[in-house]
């Protein structure tokens, strides 16, 4: 059993990088990637926490799978919107969207 601090550090790092990506990137797809990173951090935390406890329902794993599913659904919607944005504006630069109406 590996020590818990390593995965936890990874969780923190992933979340931080994801958050940074969300804030710093202007390209919508890159922002989505940031979100994915954050979600995977959450998933990792679920799994990590799930391993330490003796949950008969396997809560950690189950929730992680939920999470992945939701993320997939989200990304599909997100990509659809991004495509729509691209069609409407010609780019997917988040810092320019909504500028003029």
């Amino acid at each position: 059993m590996i020590h818990l601090s390593l995965p936890l550090a990874l969780v923190a790092a992933l979340f931080g990088i994801g958050l940074y990506g969300v804030v710093a990137r202007r390209n919508a797809v890159l922002v989505l990637i940031g979100v994915e990173l954050m979600l995977s951090a959450a998933g990792l935390l679920f799994v990590t926490a799930g391993t330490t406890m003796h949950d008969p329902m396997r809560g950690g794993q189950v929730l992680t799978i939920f999470l992945i599913t939701i993320a997939a659904a989200e990304i599909s919607v997100a990509l659809a919107v991004v495509v729509a944005v691209f069609r409407a504006r010609g780019d997917i630069d988040m810092a320019r969207a909504g500028e003029d109406e």
Binding site: V22, V23, M94, A95, G98, E99, E101
Partner: protein, 675 residues
């Protein structure tokens, strides 16, 4: 004996004059006759009730403390019974007030014969009388305040009666404001007395404060009350409203000066005289105020160029004497001396004012040039004038003599006994006696002056005071053409001699429209006043007034009489060769000018109180604008905040994400911190 059932004559004494006010305003539309009927009837009934009350008092049947509107429910332990308090002195004063008021009502009918506002005037006089009666009969400080303030208000209305003239408006405003200003401490003083006693009833207050142990508080409260009294009675430093109040019609002046307003201070102080006698500081304050007032007013009376103003100042002086009489009382004494003088003063002063009013109607004004020789032309009033002036001067055996010399005697007596207050008072009284003799003599000499032709000439240069609006007669003199020693003009003046003569004729024609003398009833009233001025001194013998007339120091009286005679002689000498028979013409012009202005008291009021208060008001208004703007700025702040908010919300998704992230950090930190 009339039954003393539920109807108390003491209440009627107040109610009838008040009813005059109310009924006249309610019922009468235009009819002068109806207004007169109500006024005369109300005044008469008021007098009859007063006499009824007097008779009750004599027989001992009077209810000592009748209730009025019932005790005020105060929700606690504070008693406000609002009772009257009937005793011999107050009943006599009430009778005198009722009498004077009645005569004035009768006289007014004639005096204001063609005044469209006669109705209002009569109503106000009624109300005024009621207020004074309330003060006189009150046994409760709240009732005193009620009557006191009502009188102030009525005086405002009466003085400003001829409100078409700016001078009258200003005089009314000044009279009310000055007295009201003095009323602030008066209120506080009475409130302090009442709160200390947990009751507004005067007997309770006297009982409470008579116990030893709160001398300082008592003195402070009394000094406050004295302040108010000084205001109402036109004593220094509030003296200057009274001469200005001469802008009112003469009957109003008679009412204010003789029986009501200015005398109210004496009445109130005499109510609480047992407390005054205990407090030396208060007595000192009172004697100083009264002494300065009585002397100063005597000087000013001598310097006036208008006989009504002369009488006004003489009132200040005489009221000063009454207050002096109160201040020199030994502990345990009753205020009969002061009340005695109040009564005689009421009679002769009312007489004087009405007589002057009569003359002024006939000659068209009260300034010296107009009045000069008035009695020569219209001798019908000369008995009244003579009696009035003699009584005022204190010539035996008239009423003024009796009351005044009793005070002189008491002051000398007490001063000899080592009372400092009485010594101050004595000196002041002596000076005042001389001054009184001087101005009385002066007035008589003017009225009785012979050289009508010269008067007539000079009159061409001077407009009637009615036509003089903003500028006083003084300024008019300054700007009018100089005359040589014999009264001939050096240079013709502006409107031209014809115009001036025309004007005189017009006015005389106007005066001719009313009968040349008051109606019979009014003349009867005047005669009564004259009679009382002559024999009023006999009241000292009456059992209801408790004065010590048997042990009077005859030498002292002789000395004062000699002094008076000497002064009178001097004045006579001074008046020789003057244009109008005016002794004051010998006084340097600068002093007279200053005297006409009351030695600048008005300017002092304006500069010391009026201007600073207005400046303060302006700065407060400016401050409030700031406050207001501050509140408004809050709105515009919100407005500009929203503008800034709009700039921040640039509709870009990245900005939203940035905000979101910041929010996350803030929430995390705050959440953990606030937990």
């Amino acid at each position: 004996m009339i039954t003393t059932g539920s109807i108390q004559p003491s209440l009627l004494v107040v109610a009838f004059p008040a009813a005059v006010g109310v009924l006249t305003l309610l019922l009468v539309r235009r009819s002068r006759r109806a207004a007169y009927a109500i006024a005369a009837l109300g005044g008469l009934l008021g007098l009859l009730s007063a006499v009824w009350l007097l008779s009750q008092q004599m027989t001992g049947d009077a209810a000592p403390s009748p209730r009025t509107i019932g005790a005020l429910p105060t929700g606690g332990s504070f008693a406000m019974p609002l009772h009257l308090q009937i005793d011999a002195l107050t009943v006599i004063v009430a009778t005198a007030v009722a009498l004077v008021s009645l005569v004035i009502q009768l006289f007014t009918r004639w005096y204001l014969a063609d005044d469209p506002r006669y109705r209002v005037f009569a109503a106000t006089v009624g109300l005024f009388t009621a207020a004074m009666q309330l003060v006189v009969l009150s046994g409760d400080v709240l009732l005193i305040i009620v009557g006191w303030e009502l009188m102030g208000w009525c005086s405002y209305l009466l003085i400003g009666h001829e409100s078409d003239r700016e001078k009258a408006r200003r005089a009314a405003y000044k009279a009310f404001l000055v007295t009201r200003f003095a009323d602030a401490p008066f209120f506080i003083g009475l409130i302090a007395l009442a709160v200390g006693a947990h009751s507004t009833s005067i007997p309770a207050i006297i009982a409470h404060w008579s116990t030893p142990g709160h001398a300082t508080a008592l003195s402070a409260a009394l000094i406050c009350v004295i302040c108010g009294v000084a205001g109402k009675s036109a004593q220094v430093p509030f003296q200057d409203w009274l001469p200005d109040a001469m802008e009112g019609p003469t009957p109003a002046s008679a009412l204010i000066h003789a029986a009501t307003m200015v005398a109210a201070g004496t009445v109130v102080l005499s109510r609480i005289v047992p407390l005054l006698e205990q407090s030396d500081p208060a007595r000192y304050v009172l004697v100083v105020v009264a002494s300065i007032s009585t002397v100063l007013a005597g000087v000013l009376a001598f310097l006036q160029n208008d006989l009504k103003r002369l009488l006004a100042w003489s009132t200040v002086s005489q009221v000063g004497l009454m207050l002096l009489a109160l201040s020199i009382l030994p502990p345990g004494a009753t205020p009969d001396l002061a009340i005695m003088h109040l009564l005689s003063h009421a009679m002769f002063k009312a007489l004087l004012f009405l007589a002057i009013g009569w003359l002024s109607v006939l000659v068209g004004g009260t300034v010296v040039p107009r009045m000069s020789g008035a009695l020569r032309r219209h001798p019908s009033a000369d008995t009244m004038m003579a009696v009035g002036l003699l009584a005022l001067a204190g010539v035996p055996p008239l009423s003024g003599f009796v009351s005044k010399d009793l005070i002189v005697d008491e002051a000398a007596h007490r001063g000899a006994a080592g009372d400092g207050v009485a010594r101050i008072g004595f000196v002041a009284i002596v000076v005042m006696v001389a001054l009184t003799a001087a101005y009385c003599m002066r007035a008589w000499l003017i009225l009785d002056h012979r050289t009508i032709a010269e008067r007539r000439q000079a009159a061409q240069t001077i407009e009637d005071s009615h036509a003089v609006q903003e500028v006083g007669i003084l300024e008019m003199l300054e700007t009018s053409a100089p005359v040589d020693a014999r009264g001939h003009e050096i240079r013709p003046v502006e409107p031209g001699p014809e115009a001036a003569v025309d004007e005189l004729e017009v006015e005389e024609a106007e005066a001719a429209r009313r009968p040349p003398r008051p109606g019979r009833s009014a003349r009867w009233g005047l005669a009564t006043l004259t009679l009382l001025s002559v024999v009023g001194g006999g009241l000292a013998l009456a059992p209801v007034i408790d004065v010590d007339w048997s042990n009077v120091n005859g030498w002292l009286i002789a000395a004062t009489l000699l002094l008076m005679a000497a002064v009178a002689l001097l004045v006579r000498v001074m008046s020789l060769g003057t244009i109008f028979g005016d002794a004051a013409a010998r006084v340097p012009q600068a002093v007279r000018n200053s005297g006409l202005r009351g030695f600048g008291a008005d300017t002092a009021y304006v500069n010391l109180v009026g201007r600073p208060v207005l400046a303060l008001a302006r700065s407060v208004a400016a401050l409030d604008d700031l406050l207001d703007r501050g509140v408004r700025d809050l709105a515009s702040d919100a407005w500009s905040l929203s503008l800034r908010g709009l700039a921040a919300h640039n509709r870009r998704p990245t900005t939203g994400l940035l905000a979101l992230t910041t929010g996350l950090v803030v929430v995390g930190v705050l959440g953990v911190a606030l937990w």
